[in-house]
Every structure is written in structure tokens, then in C-alpha cells.
């Protein structure tokens, strides 16, 4: 049978390159070194995210003064709460879906990937909708307490709305162009196993 002949040729393929030139002990040493580097890089990223968030919240604590008018203090507190909320929402999935489980059976692996992508989509959408409410309210309250007249306040609100609009558009584009197609592909792959069709 022709396919069997082709299959035999396939199994006799000759290869060259790193995998076939280096001894397994050397390859193992290289992989071990890379794994350690990756671990250190991940740890550094985690620490910088947590410290960065704490630093931003800390800056606003420094700004806080109990002698300030009520509206200013309320604005700062809401801003701090908003930043903390966004930071937690950003960091939590990072820890929850830490490390990819390549050893899982295909469908379980895909379901985990799906959950991870769904969590990212929720975060991207949420960071500029309900998660941003305290921060936006804090900004407006703070601005209202420091501006001199209604015109300045309206300019501040307009600037805020403009910046929020740009961020919203960028995030929506990210979901539409990058995350949603990945989700479609994973759903298709999950259904492929059940179909039994080619």
C-alpha cells in the first residue's frame, strides 16, 4: 500500500541541528538554566506589579491630608480604592492561571486556556466599565474640589471622558482583534474532538 511506503520513508527521515548534535546532558543543562531564568523573570514581574500598584496607592496616601475639604478627601479615597481595585483585578488572574498545564489531556488543557482567555476578556472589559467607576468618581470629585469654576470642571470632565474613550476603544479593539478570535478558535477545537468528522 502506497501510504505504508510513504510512512516508512517518513520514519527514516534524517535530522540535524541542536537536538541531534548536542548530548542529552548538555540539552538538559540548557533547559534547566532557561527554566530558572524564566522563574526569576516571572518573580521579578510579580514583584514589580505588586510594588508598582502599592507605590501608586501610596502616592495618593501621601496626598491625603485630614485638613483638606471633605470633597477632596472623598475624591482621593475613591481614587485610591479604584486603583487598588484595578490592581487586584489585574494581578489576581495572573496568580490564578499561573503556569500553563501542558501535561493535561487536550480538552482539559483547552478548557483551562478558554477560562484564562475569558478571564482576560472580563478584565479588559471590566477595567474600563464597572472597575473604573470608583476611580472616575474619585477623579471628578477631586477635580470638583480644586477647580475655580464650572467651566474648568467641565473641561476636566471632558478631558477625562476623552481619555477614557480612547482607552475604551483600544481595549475593545484588543478584545475584537486578538482575544475573541482566540476564543472562537478554542471553541472550535473543543467541538472538533466530538464531531469525529474530518
Amino acid at each position: 500500500m502506497e501510504l505504508e511506503r510513504l510512512k516508512a520513508a517518513w520514519q527514516e527521515q534524517k535530522f540535524e541541528g541542536y537536538l541531534f548534535e548536542k548530548p542529552p546532558s548538555r540539552i538538559t543543562a540548557d533547559v534547566r538554566r532557561k527554566a530558572m531564568e524564566m522563574k526569576s523573570r516571572n518573580l521579578a514581574e510579580d514583584v514589580s506589579h505588586v510594588l508598582g500598584s502599592m507605590l501608586i496607592v501610596g502616592m495618593w496616601i501621601f496626598w491625603y491630608d485630614s485638613r483638606q475639604p471633605l470633597m477632596t478627601r472623598a475624591g482621593i479615597i475613591l481614587l485610591m480604592a479604584g486603583i487598588a481595585l484595578e490592581a487586584i483585578a489585574y494581578i489576581a488572574p495572573r496568580f490564578r492561571y499561573r503556569g500553563e498545564r501542558f501535561d493535561l489531556p487536550r480538552n482539559e488543557f483547552l478548557l483551562r486556556e478558554k477560562k484564562r482567555i475569558e478571564a482576560r476578556i472580563r478584565l479588559v472589559k471590566g477595567s474600563l466599565t464597572w472597575l473604573s467607576v470608583p476611580m472616575l468618581a474619585g477623579c471628578i470629585l477631586y477635580a470638583a474640589s480644586v477647580v475655580k469654576n464650572m467651566g474648568e470642571l467641565l473641561s476636566c470632565v471632558a478631558l477625562l471622558a476623552f481619555m477614557w474613550g480612547i482607552a475604551f476603544w483600544v481595549n475593545a479593539r484588543r478584545v475584537r482583534k486578538h482575544l475573541a478570535p482566540l476564543l472562537v478558535e478554542i471553541n472550535w477545537m473543543l467541538s472538533e474532538a466530538d464531531s469525529g468528522l474530518i
Binding site: R5, W10, Y18, L19, P24, I27, V31
Partner: protein, 172 residues
């Protein structure tokens, strides 16, 4: 040196030995999986990603499945995650892009490996995995364990893949 440190060292030594064995036994498979799930020179990056995934997954290897089955599971999951990350680029510059497709008329003049590669690249992710393991002579049981699909479903799938191949290239 404390007992815990000693245990940790023994575990690392065992892990290294096992990994060396995996590399020694599966380097051909690794290249084939990487080559057939990437485009151009990307296979080198994918090879490295698979090696790293094998190393990081080794702590969870419990020996319930054979080493080959476990290898394929990790390698294919890594390869498909890699493909998803690069899928737009792959579709434009896939290995079979620009090549004249083999037909029932001209396949005999071509290198058998390139014909099989072309066919493998034309398949969806699951069929590609199945066909690669079929070409590697894995049993139905091993293939169904590696990708965890029902053995009856797998037999139908392999049979259809063979027919598809033959009708496209051999004209059978």
C-alpha cells in the same frame, strides 16, 4: 546538609536523568512535532518551548501513562498554544504556502516526506496530531490516551484520514 536539602538534590538528579532519557528517546518526535506545527525557522523556537514545557511538566509526571504518550501530550499542547499565538503569521507563510499541491497525477515524482508534510499541514489541529502519531506507529490506545479521545472515534478518524490522503494523492 539537611534531610530536606538532600531529598531535593536527589529529586533534581532524578528529574535530570529522566529528562535526559526523554530527550534521547524523543528528539526525532520533537523535531517532527515542531516542524509540522510551525512555519519557516519558527520550528527552532517551538522546539525550545517544547523542551521547556517538558521540563516544567516533569514534576507532575506520575507514570500513569507511558513516557511516549506523556511526551506527545505535552509537545502537542505546547505546539498548539504556539500556533494559536502565531496563527495569523502561519496562515500567510505556512510551510506549504506557494508550493504546487501534489495531485493524483504528480505525486510519484515528489519526495515522500514532502507529500506527507503537505498533507499534515492541510489538516486541522486534532487531525494533524492524530496523523503525526499514526505516522509514528503509535497504537490506537496510545494515541487515544495522548489526546484523550474515544478509541472508536479515533479509528473512524484515522480511517477517514487515510482515505482522504489516498483520494487526494494516490487517486484511489
Amino acid at each position: 546538609m539537611g534531610r530536606q536539602e538532600l531529598i531535593a538534590l536527589v529529586e533534581i538528579a532524578d528529574k535530570q536523568r529522566l529528562f535526559e532519557q526523554i530527550v534521547a528517546e524523543n528528539s526525532r518526535r520533537l523535531r517532527i512535532v515542531a516542524w509540522n506545527n510551525s512555519s519557516g525557522d519558527q520550528y527552532k523556537d517551538l522546539e525550545q518551548e517544547i523542551l521547556l514545557a517538558l521540563w516544567t511538566s516533569l514534576d507532575r509526571f506520575e507514570g500513569r501513562s507511558g513516557l511516549t504518550t506523556w511526551f506527545y501530550r505535552v509537545a502537542l499542547n505546547t505546539a498548539h498554544a504556539f500556533t494559536r499565538r502565531n496563527f495569523r503569521r502561519n496562515r500567510e507563510t505556512g510551510p506549504s504556502a506557494g508550493k504546487e499541491p501534489a495531485t493524483a497525477g504528480n505525486w510519484q515524482n515528489r519526495d515522500p516526506v514532502s507529500i506527507l508534510e503537505e498533507f499534515v499541514h492541510s489538516l486541522g489541529e486534532l487531525d494533524r496530531s492524530v496523523f503525526l502519531m499514526y505516522l509514528d506507529d503509535l497504537s490506537y490506545r496510545e494515541i487515544s490516551q495522548a489526546i484523550q479521545i474515544d478509541e472508536a472515534n479515533l479509528r473512524v478518524r484515522v480511517s477517514r484520514l487515510k482515505k482522504q490522503f489516498e483520494s487526494r494523492y494516490i487517486g484511489g
